[in-house]
């Protein structure tokens, strides 16, 4: 039995405004270390909502969430912020880089916040991550000087900086053209296979999902299929 990095046990969520609508019903699944999992489903099926619950940013749900075997339910905001900082890396549809800082600094920010390493070491790590993603030459440029694909790669480097337990992506290729999508996908694949990085990617791109280890299919707030573990 492999180590479970994340486990959801009976997670449900409802929106109460203006009417009570149940968006997630009794979701239970787990992801093992080193797995590359995608979640697919139609728009509005609740896959993004699920991701935000899994990422600890949304705390308003029923059920239990275990991250690295530790329950995240009923933790305080500041504690959750620390968990996110240390154990979760994010890649969103939009890059969300800070234009006031150069790319290297953007990558370094979560590392400096964690402060496990000296700023010099964090800088060194950030360079390494940018190198993995093939954009070390852009390190000292500012985000607004990069193309969309490059920005997304900087965002991935930022997600990697603290060597997280799991990387979560919310439509990370949604804003990119085919070529850049492939580049980003290959990066994820490489991370999963060479660095044994666990990944959980929400997408509506079925081609993208088909190439991952396992695809979870959702419909109307329920999991229809857990997919077959190929690894």
């Amino acid at each position: 039995m492999e180590k479970k990095v994340i486990e959801a046990i009976g997670i449900s969520k409802s929106f109460h405004d203006p009417l009570t609508v149940k968006v997630l019903t009794d979701i239970s699944f787990s992801i093992n270390a080193g797995e590359f999992v995608s979640v697919v489903g139609k728009s509005g099926c609740g896959k993004s909502t699920l991701l935000y619950i899994l990422s600890t940013m949304d705390t308003n749900y029923e059920g239990e969430l275990l991250l690295d075997g530790i329950s995240m339910t009923n933790k305080k905001d500041a504690e959750l912020a620390m968990v996110r900082n240390e154990k979760i890396g994010f890649v969103f549809q939009f890059h969300y880089l800070l234009n006031e800082f150069n790319n290297l600094q953007n990558v370094m920010l979560p590392g400096l916040k964690l402060a496990n390493l000296s700023p010099k070491e964090v800088e060194h790590h950030a360079y390494q991550k940018l190198k993995i993603l093939g954009i070390e030459k852009e390190a000292l440029k500012y985000p607004n000087q990069l193309s969309g694909g490059q920005k997304q790669r900087v965002a991935i480097a930022r997600a990697l900086i603290n060597e997280p337990l799991i990387i979560m992506g919310d439509e990370p290729t949604g804003n990119l053209d085919k070529k850049n999508s492939d580049v980003v996908f290959n990066i994820f694949k490489e991370l999963a296979e060479e660095y044994h990085q666990s990944l959980l990617i929400v997408t509506h791109d079925l081609d993208f999902a088909a190439k991952t280890h396992r695809t979870i299919t959702m419909e109307d707030g329920k999991i229809m299929s857990h997919g077959l573990s190929s690894s």
């Binding site: 940013m57 912020a81 969103f92 800070l98 006031e100 920010l109 930022r158 919310d170």
Partner: protein
């Protein structure tokens, strides 16, 4: 270490909105500048007006009020002990103005550790003779050295020297108003008549200008011995003993004590000049109110810019929170921005405030009633600068508090979903 990161993020956000930040900081600078200038100027003016009176007024004055003796001979008579008596038309005694045993009293006062100095004085009502006309007036016999030391008498003498009064026998320093009426120059001789009809010649050695027109029209100063000569009294004759204390606030208590101890009337400065303190404190209050209003307006400027910044930087705040910055960190970031604006703006305000008050202090201000004042009065009290600094920090903190709280409460999910 952790704060360094927060500060870096704060300054990066500040730089991104440099122009607006500078405008907000300038608001603080302006208000602190005006606050300092206003208080320094008002403080200077208050001191000037207060000193006009307080410098010339003793903290405690010992004298004898003309009043009938409270114990009449009949009360001491054993024959009528236990009986009531009614006396009509009681008249005060002639010699009651004199403070008895004045030399001993002065000696005792000088030995008191609370007392800065003692100046004996005689007040004589007189007529100044100008040809056929007699002008009513008052002549004070003073101890010139004590008067200079305690009441800055020399500052008010505009023509001639106080020392001449001491060194020339039978000399007088005339109020400038009287001198004008009598058409006399320094060096002239004048005649005065006392209330008892005695005539006496005096040599004018100087003029003085107190700033109070009414006083200058009647007052003249001679030495203590001259008044004794005019009145034909011995060298111990003193009608007033003026006392200056180290601590003015002790005056009411000490006045009571001295009055009892020396069996004279004693009045303190707080009782005689209560209206001046009231005026000063109200003027000060108004200056503070205006200064603080300016600061609050500047505070709204900071509030605005922070709100705008937070609105603009929603995305950045969301990602900071998503990558592990807590609400408290975000709060600290915006409070740091607000305080930076406040501290920089405030510090510049203190410097400019000092500069502006220094400039005002150089502007000529000549008024006939205040011979010693040549420029606008400025009080460089460090207290004003301290209050200005503290208030600039407090208002900017408050102005930053609410926007920062708003920023710390931003839910990253809402922002990211909204895209």
């Amino acid at each position: 270490m952790k704060f360094k990161l927060i500060a870096e993020i704060s300054f990066a956000l500040l730089r991104a909105r440099l122009k607006q930040t500078m405008v907000a900081a300038f608001g603080v600078t302006f208000s602190i500048t005006m606050f300092i200038t206003l208080l320094s100027f008002m403080g200077g003016l208050n001191d000037l007006l207060d000193n006009l009176i307080l410098n010339r007024t003793p903290h405690i004055r010992l004298f004898n009020e003309i009043s009938a003796s409270s114990i009449q001979p009949i009360a001491k008579s054993k024959a009528y002990a236990g009986a009531y008596n009614f006396i009509s038309h009681v008249k005060p005694k002639n010699d009651l103005l004199e403070i008895r045993n004045s030399e001993a009293i002065i000696k005792a006062l000088k030995a008191d550790p609370n007392v800065r100095g003692v100046a004996p004085k005689n007040t004589v009502p007189v007529f100044y003779n100008v040809g056929a006309i007699n002008l009513t007036g008052v002549i004070d016999g003073i101890d010139v050295d004590a008067e200079n030391k305690l009441f800055t008498f020399q500052d008010y003498v505009v023509n001639g020297k106080t020392m001449d009064l001491k060194n020339t026998p039978n000399s007088i320093i005339l109020g400038i108003g009287v001198a004008k009426k009598m058409l006399v120059q320094v060096g002239d001789n004048i005649q005065i008549t006392t209330s008892k009809g005695t005539q006496f010649p005096l040599k004018v050695v100087g003029f003085f200008q107190s700033g109070m027109d009414e006083m200058d029209k009647i007052q003249g100063y001679v030495t203590l011995s001259t008044t004794q000569k005019i009145l034909g009294k011995p060298a111990s004759y003193v009608t007033d003993i003026q006392v200056k204390l180290y601590d003015m606030t002790l005056a009411p208590a000490l006045a009571k004590k001295y009055g009892k101890l020396f069996e004279t009337d004693a009045v303190d400065i707080q009782t005689t000049n209560s209206q001046f303190k009231t005026g000063s404190s109200i003027r000060t209050l108004i200056s503070y109110a205006v200064g603080i209003t300016l600061l609050i307006v500047a505070g709204f400027g900071i509030y605005n810019i922070l709100n705008m910044m937070i609105y603009e930087k929603m995305d950045s705040i969301a990602i900071l929170k998503a990558t592990g910055f807590s609400g408290k960190d975000v709060n600290t970031i915006f409070i740091t921005i607000a305080l930076t604006i406040g501290l920089v703006g405030g510090a510049l305000g203190l410097v400019f405030g000092f500069g502006l008050s220094a400039v005002i202090g150089q502007i000529p201000f000549n008024t006939a009633s205040l011979p010693t004042v040549k420029t606008y009065p400025i009080n460089y009290n460090p207290k004003f600068y301290l209050i200005g600094a503290v208030f600039s920090v407090i208002t900017t903190y408050l102005a930053g508090y609410f926007p920062s709280r708003k920023a710390s409460k931003i839910d990253p999910v809402d922002i990211i979903r909204g895209k």
